[in-house]
Symmetry: C2
C-alpha cells in the first residue's frame, strides 16, 4: 500500500526525467514550451531535467534549421532524444544458423547478419559463430561494442531466468549450458536469454502478424514444435520457463516418432531435416498416396499440438512460424481442424517476420529492458493512465 | 503516461479514504494517532477521512472498553472497520445441486446452504432452486437483501463478460442463457458470473491447496474436465473466456466417448453418473480385470488432458478437484505420468475445499469486486509498493 502525497525527492527527479525523456522521444524535435505543455511540469523543472539529460548524453539541442517551422524573431531552442546514444542487439541461435540484428535506442534496425552453422556443431563452436557474426555486424555498422546497452538472445530450449538452458534437446551440448554467463563475457551490458518461440511471439506482436493482438500464441512449427504465448500483451513464461513446450504431448499414448510419421516407406525417414520433409510434401502434391498419408499424419499432429494450446489458453490469434510454416498446405487444414475442435476457434495467420522473427523478438526484449531503465520508475509512471 | 505531482482533489480524497480504510481494516481497532502513523497522512486529513467513513457507515467508533489496553487519563478514541456494513454471496450452479455461501465485507463466512436439483431440470427450475437457496440463507442469517454489496456465481460453461453462457453443454438449456441478466433481477448489487472451474481455482488460491502459489491450474475432473488457471495470482480467462476448456481435446484422433471409455461390458456405461463410475472404480480395486482396464483408460485420458494444460502453461501446482478427485487412485498415477511427460513436472495436490470450492471462489470474486470499489483507486494505490 503506497501513498501519493509527499515522497522521495530523488524518486520525483527520476520520474520527471522519465516523463521528459518519453515526451522528447515521442516527438522528432521539441521546444521547452512544448515539453512543458505535454508533461504538465513547470518550466524550471523541465529546464533542469533537460540539462541533466543533455549531460547524460541522452538529449541534444538541435540546430534550429533542423526544426520544421521557424518563426519570426529568435527561434526557440529545440531538443531531441539521441537514439544514437546507445545500441542494442537481438541474437538468434538455431540448429542451422546464428543471426544478429543491430538497432539504435529507438529500435530502428541498423543492420543484420546471419551465418550458417552445422546442426552437429558443439556448443563452443556455435557460440563462437555467434561471436563472429556480432563482431562483423558491429564493424560493418561502425558501432563500438561499448555503445551496446542490452543484448537479447533467442535460443531453443527451456531457459532459466539467469540464461542457463535447463533443457535443450534441439542443439548438441545445450542442456545445462550456462548460455547467459557465456555470452556475458563478450558484453559489458545486460544479456537477456529467452526461449526462441517466446522471442518470436514477442516479435510478431511488435512488428509482425500480431501487432493489434495482445492474446496470441506463436507456434514454432517443426518436427517437435514449441510455442510462445502473450497474455494481455505480456510474455507468459510459466513458473519454470517451460510454458508452451507442447512437443512432449505426442508421447502420451501415441508412440509414433516424427521419423515414422513422415516416412513414405517402411523405414523411418532419414535424415529428418527440412529438405527431406519438403520432398515428402512435394510428392504429396504430385499425388503420391503414401506421401499424402504422411503429410496428413504430420498435419494431424500439428493440429493436435496447437489445439492443446488453444484450449488451454484461448488466444485471439495463432501465428504459425518455423520451417513447417513454409510448407504448402499447412495453414488451411490447421484452420479447419481448429474450428472443428475448439469451442472458440482463434484466428490463424502465418508469421510475417519469417526467419527474422527470433532475432527481432530478442532485440525487442533488449529494447524493453533499456526502456524500463530509461522511462519507467518502479511501475509508477507506466502503471498510471 | 501519468504524472505524480499536482492532481485532482477528489481523486486524492478517494485515495486517502482508501488508505485509511485499508489501515483500519488491517487492525481490529485503531486510534487516530495509529492511523496517522501507519498511513503517513496528516492528523487533520485522517480526522476528515474517518468522519466521512463514519457517515458512509463503513467505520464506527468503538467503546473504549473494547480496545485492548487502557492508559491513564482520557482514553484515545478507537475506530474499527464495520465488516457488517454489507454482505456478499458466493453461488454455485451445478448439474446435481445449487449452493450458496454468505459472508460479511471481510469475507468471513456467516452461513452456507445447498439444495439438490435434478440433472435434467430445465434452466428456469435450476435458477428458481438457487433463488430459494439464497432466500433461505438470508432469512436464516437475518440479513436483509438490501445489505448485499456483490454476488459471485460459478457456473459450468464458457461465460461471457456480461454473464451470458456462450456454451454450456453440462446443463440443460444452458447454452445462450443470459444467466447474469436473469440473476440481476433478484439482486440490486453487481452480479458477477464466472466459469465454475475458474472460481474453484480462485477458491483454492484464497483458502485451499494453493494459498502460497500464484501460478496454478485447477482441474475440475469429471467426465469432460474443465480447468481454471491463475497466472501471477490472477485468473486467466482467455480472450473469449474459453481458457481451460480442455475437454474437447479428446475429440482429436480419439473417438472414444466417456460412456465407452468407462464401460466394463460391450455396451456403453449408462447412466453415466458419479455413482456408476464409482462402482467401476470399486470393481477395479476388487480385481475385476475389465473394470481395471476401464479405470486405466479413464486415468490416461485425465493425464492427457492435464498434461496438455501443464505443457501449455507450466504452472507450479495442479490442484485436482471435482468428483473424480474423490475416487481412490487418481492422484498417484496422475503424478507419475506427469513426471514422465512434462519437462518441468508441477506439484499435484487434491482440492482442500472439495465441493465448497466453486461457491467459495464465487464469494472471493464478489469480495474482490467490493474491495476494488472500497480500497483501490484506478490502480494507483494498489500498484505501488
Amino acid at each position: 500500500m503506497g501513498r501519493l502525497t509527499g515522497g522521495d525527492p530523488s524518486l520525483l527527479r527520476r520520474i520527471n526525467s522519465a516523463v521528459v525523456l518519453h515526451a522528447l522521444r515521442g516527438a522528432d524535435f521539441a521546444t521547452l514550451t512544448e515539453v512543458t505543455r505535454v508533461t504538465g511540469l513547470s518550466r524550471p523543472t523541465v529546464e533542469g531535467v533537460v540539462e541533466g539529460l543533455i549531460d547524460a548524453g541522452l538529449v541534444v539541442e538541435t540546430a534550429a534549421e533542423e526544426g520544421a517551422a521557424r518563426r519570426q524573431g529568435r527561434p526557440a531552442r529545440r531538443f531531441r532524444f539521441r537514439a544514437e546514444a546507445g545500441h542494442l542487439l537481438g541474437l538468434e541461435i538455431g540448429p542451422h544458423r546464428v543471426a544478429a540484428v543491430l538497432s539504435d535506442l529507438d529500435g530502428r534496425v541498423l543492420g543484420t547478419t546471419a551465418k550458417d552453422v552445422d546442426e552437429t556443431a558443439p556448443a563452443d563452436e556455435r557460440i563462437e559463430r555467434l561471436r563472429t557474426a556480432v563482431a562483423d555486424l558491429l564493424r560493418r555498422g561502425g558501432i563500438a561494442r561499448s555503445s551496446l546497452r542490452a543484448v537479447g538472445v533467442g535460443s531453443p530450449g527451456i531457459v532459466e531466468a539467469d540464461g542457463t538452458v535447463r533443457l535443450g534437446t534441439a542443439l548438441p551440448e545445450w542442456t545445462g549450458l550456462p548460455l547467459g554467463e557465456r555470452l556475458r563475457r563478450s558484453f559489458k551490458c545486460p544479456v537477456l536469454v529467452e526461449n526462441d518461440a517466446n522471442t518470436a511471439a514477442v516479435a510478431e506482436h511488435w512488428k509482425g502478424a500480431a501487432t493489434e493482438v495482445d492474446d496470441m500464441v506463436f507456434v514454432l512449427a517443426g518436427l517437435s514444435p514449441g510455442a510462445g504465448a502473450l497474455i494481455g500483451g505480456r510474455l507468459h513464461r510459466g513458473y519454470g520457463g517451460a510454458a508452451g513446450e507442447i512437443g512432449a504431448l505426442h508421447l502420451l499414448g501415441r508412440d509414433v516418432t516424427p521419423e515414422t510419421l513422415l516416412s513414405t516407406t517402411d523405414e523411418p525417414l532419414h535424415p529428418l531435416d527440412e529438405q527431406a520433409v519438403a520432398e515428402v510434401f512435394a510428392h504429396a502434391r504430385e499425388g503420391d498416396e503414401r506421401a499424402r498419408q504422411a503429410v496428413e499424419r504430420f498435419i494431424q499432429r500439428l493440429v493436435h499440438d496447437v489445439a492443446a494450446l488453444v484450449l488451454a489458453l484461448d488466444p485471439e490469434l495463432v501465428v504459425v512460424g518455423g520451417w513447417a510454416a513454409g510448407l504448402d498446405g499447412v495453414l488451411e487444414p490447421l484452420r479447419r481442424e481448429l474450428a472443428r475442435y475448439c469451442l472458440r476457434p482463434p484466428r490463424v495467420a502465418l508469421s510475417v517476420l519469417g526467419e527474422a522473427a527470433v532475432a527481432t523478438g530478442a532485440l525487442r526484449l533488449a529494447l524493453d529492458h533499456v526502456e524500463e531503465q530509461l522511462f519507467a520508475v518502479e511501475g509508477t509512471v507506466t502503471a498510471r493512465r
